[in-house]
Symmetry: C2
Subunit: 457 residues, 2 copies
């Protein structure tokens, strides 16, 4: 008889909670094996075999061995990794064991394991509502509570002043590329754009359909390996806004110093760096971010807009693409992506529990330094971005030959380091290390890179 | 010590699967109570206390009593209802017990419990991917498989011919209200609309911003209590399309016979009735549906469009609002709402397992008949819609006075019948009984209505 045993163990930190067995999932087995497993639990009560260390839950050696011995005698597997975290993965590498991988995807990307587990727990019944968040009317008190809490937590995390509205919209960054000119090119019908990558270029192209776009600077000539130097004399003082992409996902660059735009509203695409580093929101007229990198599932776009920029959209702007409509209705003009908003709210709570954005930034700087320090010391690997503009979130790197790049990606995949292939316009590799990627994941990747270098000198 | 014990039991129907304890979740307890509960499991192994009946899982009487006795001796609760379904709810009504309610919300609304549970199970790790569906790149093989399977299943369920594209978009019906004129008013810049409710009216108003709208008929004069009679002489033979709302969520009416529009493309909003009844897709040029009623979580919009209608959008149409862009890119022009698409795909599989759309329709007709038959026989309750046009999905009804309406809604809520309040423009009550509402839910509601009538004669 073949099959899979899934077991999850969670230790709560609150004093009143002693332990929690998150779930036990036994299928494809007969009653005999089921009872034997329960007897095993009785011999090793959770108090004994659970320990808590940092954010990672694991089973201690003796109990682990006992369980492994037990399952080794049977034709089935044990699957605890997604509950007890990455620490435990290496113990359970093998055909019968499902496990969480180290996911370096550029987006949609890794989400905090703690949030996934909490959402899983309350997936079918949320609180005392008797229903899933997915089943709630967006006009219900419970959902309005979820929405308002998410807005308040984001306001708190990013220090967003009261004269900015927080909107939760649909359509991703690509819809923002149109909404921004449709809503903001309303005085002189022109805007300044800095082209630092494919997404900035797409934004500028869409805007050019609705007004005059002034490309202030571009780093296209060096495949966007830097944030270009800005010549302020090229800035248009009468531009309706000045557009930048704060972190460039594909190329791994970021703005470390904001341009001096005077009274022109600064508009920023922060899709791949929101909540990863502190930012002075008051320098911006509008900031937006698709959720699917640092915030939650794809399908929600966060827009933070200064109130004086609301209204006066172009005549033909579809109602659903008018910021003021969503602002007036607190993102409830129509049915919003309710579950995405809920999940994002849980991520906001998680970021707060980690110490807020300043603490996330410190951790992200440490994580990125692990990779960059290795790249700078390596004789084989090389980062592709100019040092001054290196992203904390997306780290592109290459090996000397295409053959070695391919070999590295293949062998990394076999070790559960996945989605490391670089964007086709850059080639090589890219490790996206968003907020949810634990330091241990980056350490494990660097260790593997060192090993790969030793084997391929 | 206070707290909650969560237990889920699932019996698989496949021969090779004997049973599955979905999860056991114990918190706020000490080790002693935990061990006692495990001993209880050992005394009542799942084979004994699980029975399978229709789609509903429940615990049989003796085991149920044993568990109730056990928990009654302790200061804590047992929570199996969201796993074992509605049948078990009444046994566990009480302060310490969380339970699934009967959710009659008009949308977002009840989802199939089996799908919620399956999604919960694979929430953190999907298949052998090592990650949540939420964490997957939309360009990954795994996600593309999910997307294509969902499209193929919907094509199969609705008998959609090959010359129609299936798109999974964002922005809900309200965005379709703009996309339809922007993309289809491209020959004579005019369209016919039948106004059968608030949503049809909003659609017509948005279209009128982009071209000439001919209101063929309206039932506004009787608060949309019917589908109006159509005078074909008012149809514009040169209209670019003819627009109808197949099921009117707020007012509880539906089209039972499609208008004879000749060669003019028929456009249908099927948000609140998709997959609830069979429809001849070849009669339509375009059909759309927001997911949040019969399909899945809010944030995905299904658009089914005949290929010859693609292209030639108005000049100023935002790229993201062009159907042809999404058709060319198979809904992957930008990051789609990946998790919503996955969940919807699971709902499609569920509808197939129920026997497809014909079987759903039969069940929906039976469910609706339970309510309408009672309304027609009641001396106290009254349906608000003309019989010939009654919806299978949304059943509005009233009591003789506002006081009785309010009393009914309050008492229903206490019995876990929630979201029964009618739309403010109709008043009274509305029971939305989408695909996911089991017949037992409607039976229970009718039983409660009978009891209410007896007590309030």
């Amino acid at each position: 008889m073949k099959g899979l045993i899934s077991m999850g163990f969670l230790l709560y930190t609150k004093d009143s909670i002693h332990f929690c067995i998150s779930y036990i999932d036994i299928c494809l087995f007969n009653i005999d094996i089921f009872l034997q497993l329960f007897e095993l639990f009785l011999r090793y009560p959770p108090k004994i075999f659970l320990h808590f260390k940092k954010n990672i839950f694991y089973i201690d050696g003796s109990a682990c061995r006992a369980i492994i011995n037990f399952i080794n005698q049977k034709d089935h597997g044990l699957f605890p990794s997604h509950i007890i975290g990455t620490h435990f993965q290496s113990h359970f590498k093998g055909g019968l064991f499902m496990e969480r991988v180290f996911n370096f995807s550029a987006g949609p990307s890794m989400l905090p394991l703690e949030v996934l587990e909490q959402a899983q727990k309350e997936f079918v019944c949320y609180g005392s509502s008797g229903m899933s968040v997915m089943e709630m009317s967006h006009r219900s008190k419970v959902f309005e509570g979820i929405l308002e809490k998410a807005q308040a937590d984001l306001r708190d995390l990013m220090h967003i002043p009261d004269n900015y509205k927080i909107l939760f919209l649909q359509g991703g960054g690509s819809t923002q590329f149109a909404m921004i000119p449709l809503n903001l090119m309303n005085k002189n019908n022109k805007a300044d754009y800095v082209v630092t990558g494919q997404w900035a270029k797409k934004a500028a192209e869409e805007a050019a359909r609705y007004g005059k776009v002034n490309i202030v600077a571009s780093s296209a000539d060096t495949t966007f390996d830097r944030i270009p130097e800005l010549d302020e004399s090229k800035f248009d003082k009468h531009a309706d806004y000045f557009y930048i992409t704060l972190n460039n996902t594909i190329y791994g660059t970021r703005w470390t110093k904001l341009p001096n735009v005077g009274d022109v509203p600064l508009v920023g695409d922060m899709s791949s760096s929101i909540l990863s580093e502190e930012i002075d929101i008051t320098k911006f007229g509008l900031l937006f971010a698709g959720a699917q990198k640092n915030l939650g599932p794809a399908g929600v776009t966060v827009v933070i807009i200064r109130e004086d920029l609301l209204g006066n959209a172009m005549d033909f702007t579809p109602t659903m693409l008018k910021y003021d409509i969503h602002a007036k209705n607190n993102s409830l003009y129509n049915t919003p992506p309710t579950y995405g908003i809920y999940f994002m709210g849980r991520v906001f709570e998680w970021v707060k529990a980690q110490g807020g954005v300043a603490a996330m930034q410190k951790r992200n700087e440490e994580k990125a330094a692990l990779l960059y320090d290795f790249l700078d010391s390596s004789a084989l690997f090389r980062g592709t971005v100019q040092k001054k503009d290196r992203s904390l979130m997306n780290v592109p790197f290459v090996l000397p030959t295409e053959e070695l790049n391919a070999k590295f990606i293949k062998e990394a995949g076999e070790k559960s380091f996945v989605n490391l292939k670089g964007h086709r316009t850059v080639g090589g590799m890219r490790a996206s290390i968003y907020n949810a990627m634990p330091k241990e994941g980056v350490e494990a990747l660097v260790a593997f890179m060192k090993q790969f270098e030793a084997e391929n000198k």
